[in-house]
Amino acid sequence: MGRSRSTVNFLRIVMSTPLPRLGHPDLVFGLGLRTVHYTHILEEEPDIDWFEIISENYMDSQGRPRHVLNRIAERYPLVMHGVSLSIGSTDPLDHTYLKKLKKLAAEIKPHWVSDHLCWTGVAGKNTHDLLPMLLTEHSLNHVIERIRIVQDVLERRFVFENPSSYVGFTGSTLTEWEFLTRMAVEADCGLLLDVNNVYVSSRNHEFDPEEFIDAIPANRVVQIHLAGHTDCDTHLIDTHDHPVIDQVWDLYRKAVARCGPVSTLLEWDANIPPFPDLHAEVLKAKHQLRPESERVKEPGEDLAKTDSSSVPHPLHHNKVEVQ
């Protein structure tokens, strides 16, 4: 019996191996651009390789955030990272949002534009959270079709991140890594591999995180996210307010071994330290990529923050300056 047309198509796409990182550059070690660091960055021009911005914080901005961004864009490479595309929602795509996203990208010229494999709301309501997908063939086709529309509108390949998740659905028929792999290959998009999210989800859903890393299409990984999480004993929560722990560094090394050098970003969204401290934290990634004999372990590195009352990291919000 011959293969179905869709299977042949799938195999054909898999066989045509894309360039590493889909041809995007390795921007090396970057940080998320946060309001509290604006003044330091503008005055000190720190020697950071690149910044990631939250797209929604700038797409409507006509005040200081946008002014600062324009100045930073003159000096540093940028990438755009969104939280509201809601690619997995059954609501229609928001074309006003896409138009604004495209306009911002045209103006600040990021190396790539990313968001999350998730849905943020339905029936016109936005929870401003990254909600987990029901992982089925139908969901996969739904997401692939929408990614193609987004990529057509934006006239660029999009990049999608694996979010942390806290629930799974009995109706799911695919693993997250199967879903991500087929989505990336069939929609011809990139992946933002958040290794902390892989670890958090692996603990919450009781799977082997290395199986996840081994399965994803390495050449489609355009960027890696690192972050800290909170151990609530019965589950982990992605809080972005703590240093990266040893187990996540292990996954990071494994990911880099599979994907090759790839732009790496440290996320920190609550209790944000001074810029130099955060910069030092992301540079630990460089240290972590050295051979084991050259790595010095710092006390407490393998410990996650413990707090049973944590909630997932807040979505970033611009702070007002007023006299």
Binding site: D60, R64, V167, G168, T234, H235, V320
Partner: protein, 297 residues
């Protein structure tokens, strides 16, 4: 039965995690049961459990985060109101607000846009203090909106001297294009003073609600920082008329009417000072035009 209808699962999960009384009440509510008739007793037919957490406990992570995150974000938009009310009372107001006005926007910047309206709609009829809270919320929303809205920073600034270069015979027909960031408020309570007082006082010190006293306020922005100005009633009337697009002559008539009962105001003398000051602040006017709409600056 395994539930695999994407739309139903999403609508069901949304209904459950946003229910104000929690996951169990949300799952048992008609809204959720009409989508997936599981109820709280059968949540694990839809959501898997883990070794350590039940389906309800796992869903509660999203449920708790929903209100917690959006209440925190709203508190960042109304920080002085939050401090004035105390965190618990403020959070209670926002909790009610989010149930009546859930976010429908891609951006958190729109989250607080109906809060003033919500406070007005739910205002107790016999509670005067609620007018103070509504006034304070209005002030904070305008400050927030002005901060990231359009401004004059990238434009050539309006100079008072450009007004003096125009033939005085034409002044009464001049129209002032006010700055896009200029907001004019009149309040029943002195909320601008209260705002200054709260921000300049240690958080441990409780500041009482002020008594009623009308206040006129201009909010604008220069160098990307929001500025607040106390206005006299004639100043407020004059700027309001100019903002509406009325020619200077009409605006001055209204201003003179407003100044009639205020012996401290000498319009002939004060007007020059006012326009000179507003021009120097570079946050009130964008340009001026004559009847032909040609721009002078």
């Amino acid at each position: 039965m395994k539930h695999n209808d994407l739309d139903r699962v999403q609508r069901w999960m949304h209904a459950v995690i946003t229910h104000p009384d929690g996951i169990v009440a949300g799952a048992d509510a008609d809204k959720a049961r009409e989508l997936l008739d599981a109820g709280a007793g059968n949540l694990e037919s839809i959501v898997t459990r883990s070794t350590h957490l039940t389906a309800a406990e796992r869903l509660a992570i999203y449920g708790n985060a929903y209100y917690s995150r959006l209440i925190d974000c709203t508190g960042e938009v109304f920080p002085v109101l939050k401090r004035t009310l105390g965190e618990e009372v403020f959070n209670g107001f926002v909790f009610g607000y989010l149930q009546n006005y859930p976010s429908t926007s891609y951006t958190l910047h729109h989250l607080g846009r109906n809060f003033v309206g919500y406070l007005s709609e739910t205002r107790p009829e016999d509670a005067q203090w609620s007018d103070f809270l509504i006034d304070l919320a209005r002030l904070e929303w305008e400050i927030y909106d002005v901060f990231d809205g359009p401004g004059l920073e990238e434009k050539e600034s309006f100079e008072f001297e450009s007004l003096l270069e125009i033939d005085p015979a034409r002044w009464l027909n001049l129209r002032f294009k006010t700055a896009p960031c200029l907001r004019l408020l009149t309040t029943k309570y002195p909320v601008n003073n209260h705002y200054t007082l709260v921000r300049g006082t240690d958080e441990a010190i409780e500041i009482p609600f002020p008594g009623p006293e009308p206040e006129n306020i201009a909010i604008s922005r220069r160098d990307y920082v929001v500025r607040r100005y106390h206005l006299s009633l004639p100043q407020y009337v004059l700027l309001t008329e100019l903002q509406k697009g009325e020619p200077l002559g009409i605006a001055l008539e209204s201003c003179a009417d407003a100044a009639q009962n205020d012996p401290s105001i000498n319009l002939e003398h004060d007007l020059t000072n006012w326009f000179s000051y507003w021009s120097s602040e570079q946050s009130f006017f964008e340009n001026i035009s004559g009847e032909s709409e040609s721009q002078f600056s």
